[in-house]
């Protein structure tokens, strides 16, 4: 296994499959238990280092580590080292001195987890860095697709919305391609990065044109404040052109899944009726997140010095 999980580029098909398979085992082991806890990481310390508010990701990682019996310490840095206070390096040295076996980091700056690996010995898990990557989100998305559709290879997946600012999109593009899925990015041209032509994906500005051939449609959160920076004229126009409403959902193939990494802007990128429909696996995504993060923590820590737990 790899030493850190910073980017989905760190994963080849074999190691990514191992994480998904391990997650399935974790879910299975949990489902039959009265006490939802495995002794696997007893005595190991997992630090959650969150420089951004993200209740759902933080709680998911905490639950994952606790179910593996690890000692969990959560640092919620108010503001960030960028603005004032202790530098990221000093925080890293502190965690190192505390004997952190793994550091789960959420940070507003792209690449912050990369920087951490230079300053501490423990495994670093990227829980979302700026507009770069969010690898466990892509893993839980892949897990969810695989459990519903039985495979990943050859799946036709559309990722729709603010690709430019989305770490979820970057991680999903990388991981889905590793698994052999076909990815189409759908967005207004202003919300696609310059250089997207070098990505191994198709790009469409027209959501309606791609609907009928999708196995999965993944809607991304669109921040209303992008409107103020002229990425699109109005929330209403965005919804009209790129929102997933009941009409568009009706044009999807029968078996197609609707996904969203959350938190959703109901009525903006996704209609409430769609989010709550039978097609939607959004709640499954959240549940699968814990299993996938258990698997990632387990595999990273058992690969680390100190040996298999």
């Amino acid at each position: 296994m790899i030493e850190h999980l910073l980017s989905c580029d760190d994963l080849d098909a074999e190691s990514a499959t191992l994480i998904l398979d391990t997650a399935a085992q974790m879910a299975h082991a949990m489902s039959g238990r009265e006490v939802r806890k495995l002794p696997t990481l007893r005595g190991r310390t997992v630090v959650n280092l969150f420089y951004e508010d993200s209740t759902r990701t933080r709680v998911s990682f905490e639950a994952a580590a606790k179910r593996l019996s690890a000692d969990v310490v959560t640092f919620s840095a108010k503001g960030s080292s960028v603005s004032k206070g202790e530098s990221l390096k000093d925080t890293a040295l502190t965690l190192q001195a505390m004997g952190a076996d793994a550091v789960v980091v959420r940070h507003p700056a792209s690449g912050a987890p990369h920087r951490l690996t230079g300053w501490l010995d423990g495994a670093v898990l990227n829980a979302g860095d700026g507009t770069h990557e969010h690898p466990t989100q892509a893993l839980l998305d892949a897990y969810t697709m695989r459990s519903h559709l039985g495979r990943l290879e050859g799946l036709r997946v559309a990722i729709v919305g603010d690709i430019l600012h989305s770490r979820v999109a970057r991680s999903n593009v990388s991981l889905l391609r590793t698994f052999g899925a076909e990815v189409t990015l759908v967005a207004p041209p202003t919300l696609l990065p310059v250089g997207v032509d070098t990505w191994p994906v198709d790009v469409s500005y027209d959501f309606d044109a791609v609907l009928s051939r999708l196995d999965v449609v993944m809607m991304l959160r669109v921040q209303a404040e992008r409107m103020n920076a002229s990425f699109f004229p109005s929330a209403r126009e965005y919804t009209r052109r790129y929102g997933l409403d009941a009409h568009r959902m009706s044009r999807l193939p029968e078996s197609a899944l609707v996904m969203h990494p959350g938190p959703m802007n109901r009525g903006m990128e996704i209609a409430a009726s769609v989010a709550d429909s039978a097609r939607s696996v959004i709640v499954d995504q959240v549940a699968n997140g814990v299993s996938v993060r258990m698997a990632a923590l387990y595999l990273l820590l058992s690969g680390h010095k100190g040996g298999a737990a």
């Binding site: 530098s87 792209s110 770069h132 310059v194």
Partner: protein, 433 residues
């Protein structure tokens, strides 16, 4: 003053000469016999250049003496073969008054390793709102001729026009940091495939090119002198070629790092590779080299920008942009321009000494050795491979992007006002006057 005899130097890569220096001045050039009383520098196999002149140096004093001082930057410059550097105005306080530029000038004189020629700010506090007292700085003891808000673009077109017009009164030049601010809010890295992948906000080439085009038109319109700082894109080279072909008085510089490095280095997220304008692509690097060889880009300037270790040991987005350059510039130009056959050593002299000296109005610099010329000279060993080690650099900062890169040319000797500031690759006591 001691008399010096440089023996067997390869003048500009063309002919072997001896050079006799006495009382700060070159006395003889040619085959010179033994001169009792003269100290001899054995320059066998070494290339003799006029002392290098850097039109773009950040010395950080006053304000950030922990990163660099006028004295430490002067020593780094001497080690890099420089005899004059132009100190950028973005100090704290900003060099926007006669008082600050005179202070920097006199600190340079006191250090005694190079001439430190202050550059004055174009606008008060670099704020881009109203003109600084350009005339007062020009008339001061520092005799400022180059004005720049470097670090910031003079983005207001009317203000830029006025600045260009105003400095005509004292043969000044506006050195523009070409960066349209509305296109580069929060920009971190060249906008392209690497930034897209890394999730770093893009710095589009057009933000530089649009300003260069505008300013070239303005300079042509008002008949003034424009100098373009740190040109970094292939498109900028094309625009400069057009501006020069129009007969306008536009000059431009390129930095060593833009001649060698690309944005691919950012994949490490190590802010030592963060600079403004950013590292760009290989096709930009190729176009910049070609533009420099062609003369569309006039000179090499370092944009030497020291930053403390703590300022760079952080997240990419949190780090200030900037790279060290003085001690490595000649070596990088040797690799990228001479070893590639694009220019010869005379071409190096033109682009790193004569031409920058003329742009900056430094009369005592940028002259090939000849009887009567001030002895500002540099000796380069073109076969002394060395590997850049940040810890071995002379100043307090370590932010060189050339760490671990082997360069084949090394400065061995620098003469400043007839006195060696560097001998056998090591600093001397300097040239106290």
């Amino acid at each position: 003053m001691t008399s010096w005899l440089i023996k067997g130097a390869n003048l500009l890569g063309r002919e072997t000469v001896d050079v006799l220096i006495d009382d700060g001045t070159v006395r003889e050039v040619g085959a010179i016999g033994a001169r009792p009383g003269s100290r001899v520098v054995d320059a066998d196999g070494q290339v003799l250049l006029p002392g290098l002149v850097d039109l773009h140096t950040h010395l950080r004093e006053p304000g950030r003496e922990d990163a660099e001082t006028v004295a430490s930057g002067s020593r780094a410059a001497a080690l890099g073969g420089y005899t004059a550097v132009c100190a950028m105005a973005n100090t704290d306080p900003v060099a926007d008054t006669a008082g600050v530029v005179e202070q920097v000038y006199s600190l340079g004189q006191a250090a005694g390793y190079v001439d430190v020629q202050p550059i004055g700010a174009v606008t008060v506090g670099l704020a881009g709102q109203r003109l600084a007292e350009l005339g007062a700085m020009a008339s001061s003891a520092a005799k400022v001729r180059v004005f720049s808000d470097d670090g910031h673009c003079v983005s207001d077109a009317r203000l830029m026009r006025r600045a260009l017009e105003y400095v005509k009164a004292f043969d000044g030049v506006i050195a523009q940091h070409a960066q349209e601010p509305s296109l580069t809010a929060g920009a971190q890295l060249h906008e392209g495939a690497v930034a897209a992948k890394l999730g770093l906000t893009g710095w589009p080439a057009v933000a530089e090119e649009a300003i260069i085009a505008r300013d070239a038109l303005l300079a042509g319109h008002v008949g003034s002198r424009l100098h373009v700082c740190h040109v970094s894109t292939a498109g900028s080279v094309d625009i400069l070629r057009w501006a020069k072909s129009s007969g306008w008085n536009v000059t431009a510089e390129v930095c060593p790092h833009h001649l060698l490095l690309t944005d691919a280095l950012a994949t490490t997220y190590d802010p030592v590779y963060k600079v403004n304008p950013p590292l760009r692509t290989q096709s930009d690097v190729d176009a910049l080299r070609a533009g420099l060889a062609e003369g569309v880009i006039d000179i090499v300037a370092t944009d030497h920008a020291p930053h403390t270790t703590e300022d760079k040991e952080c997240e990419w987005a949190a780090a200030p942009p900037g790279m060290l350059g003085l001690e490595t510039a000649l070596g990088v130009v040797g690799e990228t321009m001479v070893a590639t056959g694009l220019i010869d050593w005379d071409g190096v002299a033109e682009r790193m000494s004569r031409r920058p000296a003329r742009i900056a109005g430094l009369d005592r610099h940028g002259h090939d050795p000849a009887p009567g010329v001030t002895a500002n000279l540099t000796l380069v060993d073109p076969g002394a491979a060395w590997t850049v080690d940040p810890a071995a650099l002379s100043g307090p900062s370590r932010n060189t992007p050339f760490r671990g890169i082997t360069l084949s040319s090394k400065v061995t000797t620098t003469f400043f006002n007839g006195q060696p500031t560097v001998l056998e690759g090591a600093l001397t006591e300097g040239s106290k006057r």
